[in-house]
């Protein structure tokens, strides 16, 4: 046949990996992150070079990384989970109550309980969305208020204090192994496992397929409903884990814990290159997005920027990321069409 379509890539494997890396969103955000850190350090050298600053740099984003990873998985399936802030508050308060009501309870049991509670709350989201065929935005907005309402009526004006918690548990929040905080190790371990699943497991690839074109996924015979429910269970479980770690890190939990953090998780994923309409992006990007978001929030006061403008900067970053996405997507589409016509 004489008709040629799209010539196969002639690049070698290493070439392909290198160009792929150079064009990747993850590398771009790392560069922005380094630039922010460099500017802040130039302004105040203690931003990076002091006893606590290295630890803070790693420790502060850990909880948001967990939420952003869960959020990224959900967004990849063309859904969104706004209830994670409330799930975090519920499991954080649950953690405190378990220690208060069951003195001497093993820490492992508390972790399992937090994970399980979060998973159940995520399952509720997933089942309603999967079977009700209602947009996730609406359902999780509803459960955001319901779950928060549960915390409010359960905790009331009561709060968990550091003195209520065993010291072994509290030290988890601040302890480091080889100068890396334990919280960060947990977050990175979760990140690696989820990233591997998404990249190299059938189930993970199907999540991308579902987000890319849900109707086509049905025609392919993929278990769309099961996968979407699974994504929400994962997001809920990670929010549950984040709740336990929140208690360990801060020591105090009130009913208002984690208010608004769900939007930060969405922002981190979007900044990290997870397309809001699903089908593309990686949890690596979402995690780096989380680090960037937290680091910017820490760097701006150092740079002497007033509080109001800090929020505006974060907003500009989100819009900038989306505009950049549009431009890059348009360019990519054009290139792909050219590659097709370039016979």
């Amino acid at each position: 046949m004489t008709q040629l379509l799209v010539a196969p890539s002639r690049m070698s494997t290493t070439q392909r990996v290198v160009t792929g890396l150079l064009h990747s969103r993850e590398v771009a955000i790392v560069l922005v992150l380094l630039a922010v850190a460099a500017v802040a350090t130039a302004k105040t050298s203690s931003f990076l070079f002091s006893a606590n600053s290295w630890r803070d740099l790693l420790l502060t984003p850990s909880i948001l990384i967990l939420l952003a990873v869960g959020q990224a998985v959900v967004i990849i399936t063309r859904n969104v989970d706004l209830s994670v802030g409330s799930v975090l508050a519920l499991t954080a308060y649950l953690t405190g109550r378990l220690f208060i009501d069951n003195p001497g309870i093993p820490i492992v049991v508390v972790f399992v309980a937090g994970l399980a509670a979060g998973a159940v709350l995520g399952l509720v989201n997933g089942v309603i969305i999967g079977y009700g065929r209602v947009p996730a935005l609406v359902i999780t907005l509803g459960t955001l208020y319901i779950y928060r309402g549960v915390v409010l009526s359960w905790a009331g004006s009561d709060r968990i204090n550091a003195s209520d918690l065993p010291s072994g548990f509290l030290s988890l929040g601040t302890k480091s192994v080889a100068s890396v905080p334990v919280l960060t190790i947990i977050a990175v371990a979760v990140l690696v496992v989820v990233a591997y699943y998404l990249h190299s497991n059938r189930g993970g690839r199907e999540l991308y397929a579902i987000g890319s074109d849900p109707d086509a996924a049905v025609l392919y015979g993929l278990a769309v409903r099961r996968r979407v429910i699974g994504a929400f269970v994962l997001s809920g479980a990670l929010a549950g884990l984040a709740g336990v770690l929140y208690t360990a890190r801060y020591g105090t939990v009130s009913s208002g814990a984690g208010t608004g953090i769900e939007l930060q998780a969405v922002a981190a994923a979007v900044i990290g290159g997870v397309a809001i309409f699903g089908g593309s992006g990686t949890v690596w990007g979402a995690a780096i997005g989380a680090v960037l978001l937290v680091t910017i929030n820490r760097a701006l006061p150092i740079a002497g920027i007033p509080d109001f403008w800090q929020r505006a900067v974060v907003g500009a970053l989100i819009i900038g990321a989306i505009v950049l996405d549009r431009i890059l997507a348009a360019r990519r589409a054009r290139k792909l069409i050219e590659a097709r016509d370039d016979v």
């Binding site: 397929a209 890319s212 025609l219 015979g221």
Partner: protein, 503 residues
């Protein structure tokens, strides 16, 4: 050929109803291995429903369905896939964000150690598949930006890698050009020679007779008859489909041709079309022919002002039409009925009357307010005039058949009282019976003095309807033929002419 003793697929007396609507009353189809079987029928005859039952998207209410001699009842697409049935839908169903390879293997990726996806093995397998199909597509590129033809090749590669014994293609050629159709047919024949059973759904009879050995006709949800293509004729099949002889598919009436309405001179747009000049007179139907991708729709869009152009001019009734301004074009009496009805021509989720009234909305409103009653009065008159078959003007356009949707779009534009009508693929996806109605309508409109520019990929339609045929090839007008001179050979020669020079 393999033994044709046992049929690959047998459906008999299959019934499927959606609530009160019976989509399939008594569907039947028997396909043998090593055969390409055409399934034809008007829109609404139940072909798609039958295919969806085979694919496992729908479950039949009653009737018999056996696959390779075994009774089956699929409840999900995964089951039919597993049983060796592959369906290529009219609109390719690929995941745009994922690579070509992932699209082929989604859900059944090659796994290495520890159930890890083995990407290198998948890429190698995909390359082998493309080699076999005689095409070159980078297995690593994403599916985004591939032409419909390439996407269909990927669907076929998917079907082959599935080891599908039954392959169903639902109007696969609707969006393909001549060369691409030939390639698809070559692939289909080689699959047939391997002993697979193919089902081919098409509205184009030349293709049915060129490719298929057997043809099954359906009408109104019923199985009508199965014939060998060698022993039947187009006329006979059409008669079976509509239940009556369609003696005149193109009821072209002679209209008096008046003064030029549209004058296009020297229209150029870099990389799209070059130096396009023509005119359309009152009462004249000018056919714009050419292969897919020749720039026909692009010229129409530029004339109407949806897309801009670099140089040249467009005048209507002697008035210059400003470029890049469709609103001005409408004001000057131009109407454009786009190729893609569902996406560009209709507000699919709005009622019939709202659709018809949409362009003239500002003219209908009284002191800025628009009531449904005013819309309905205006729309009712038009709907009646064009015989739009609908139980009520309030029903959503989405639920109507393709032919009726097209009538609604035409009504919408006629309501603006245009002097020029540009219509892109007037009968794409419309069944034979309704086609004649649309053609009759266009002919009548021309008779009333409307100038019509008609773009069509169906050669018989162009030749049957047009007073004059312009042929576009790679963005240039390569021929202007009068009705008498316009033979299929002359048009095809002009449409492929510069291709031959270039290559």
């Amino acid at each position: 050929m393999t033994s044709s003793a046992e049929p690959a697929v047998v459906l008999a007396q299959v019934r499927k109803a959606f609530g009160p609507v019976v989509a399939l009353r008594s569907g039947g189809l028997t396909v043998y291995p090593g055969s390409i079987h055409a399934l034809v029928g008007e829109n609404g005859a139940g072909k798609s429903t039958l295919v969806k039952i085979i694919a496992g998207l729908y479950r039949r209410d009653s009737g018999q369905f056996t696959l390779h001699g075994r009774e089956v009842d699929f409840t999900a697409t995964a089951e039919s896939k597993h049983a060796g049935v592959a369906v290529i839908y009219q609109e390719p169903t690929l995941f745009p964000d994922l690579s070509v390879t992932e699209n082929i293997f989604m859900g059944r990726q090659i796994l290495g150690a520890g159930r890890r996806i083995d990407r290198p093995a998948m890429h190698a397998e995909a390359e082998a598949l493309f080699q076999r199909l005689g095409v070159r597509i980078d297995p690593r590129r994403s599916a985004l930006g591939l032409s419909i033809a390439d996407q269909q090749i990927i669907e076929i590669a998917k079907a082959i890698s599935l080891q599908a014994s039954v392959l169903i293609m639902d109007e696969p050629t609707a969006a393909l050009s001549g060369v691409e159709v030939d390639r698809l047919f070559a692939v289909a024949r080689s699959l047939r020679d391997e002993g697979r059973a193919l089902v081919f759904i098409s509205h184009r009879f030349d293709e049915v007779f060129a490719l298929c050995d057997t043809v099954t006709v359906m009408r109104d949800g019923d199985y009508i008859d199965t014939r060998k293509t060698a022993e039947t004729s187009v006329g006979e099949i059409v008669a079976l489909m509509v239940g009556r002889e369609v003696d005149n598919l193109f009821p072209k009436t002679v209209a008096t041709i008046g003064d030029p309405v549209l004058k296009v001179s020297g229209l150029s747009s870099a990389g799209v079309f070059h130096d396009v000049s023509f005119e359309v007179r009152a009462g004249e139907i000018v056919g714009l022919a050419g292969l897919v991708g020749a720039g026909r729709s692009e010229v129409a869009r530029a004339v109407f002002g949806v897309d801009s152009y670099d140089s040249g001019s467009v005048t209507i009734n002697g008035t210059l039409v400003p470029r890049d301004n469709p609103r001005a074009a409408i004001g000057l009496g131009m109407a454009l009925i786009p190729e893609d009805r569902r996406q560009q021509g209709l507000v699919i989720d709005a009622s019939v009357s709202r659709n018809i009234a949409s362009v003239v909305r500002s003219r209908l409103s009284t002191s800025g307010l628009l009531t449904t009653a005013i819309e309905n009065t205006m729309a009712g008159a038009w709907a009646a005039k064009l015989e739009v078959k609908t139980s009520s003007l309030d029903i959503d356009a989405a639920t109507m058949s393709g032919g009726n949707q097209q009538k609604v779009v035409i009504a919408k534009w006629l309501a603006t009282n245009p002097s020029l009508l540009i219509i892109d693929e007037p009968t794409r996806g419309i069944d034979v019976g309704t086609k004649a109605t649309v053609h009759g309508l266009l002919s009548d409109l021309a008779g009333q003095g409307l100038a019509i520019l008609m773009i069509s990929s169906e050669l018989p339609e162009v030749l049957g309807m047009a007073d004059r045929v312009l042929v576009l090839c790679e963005g240039r007008i390569t021929a202007g033929l009068s009705r008498a001179d316009a033979t299929p050979e002359a048009v095809m020669h002009a449409a492929t002419h510069s291709l031959e020079v270039v290559r």
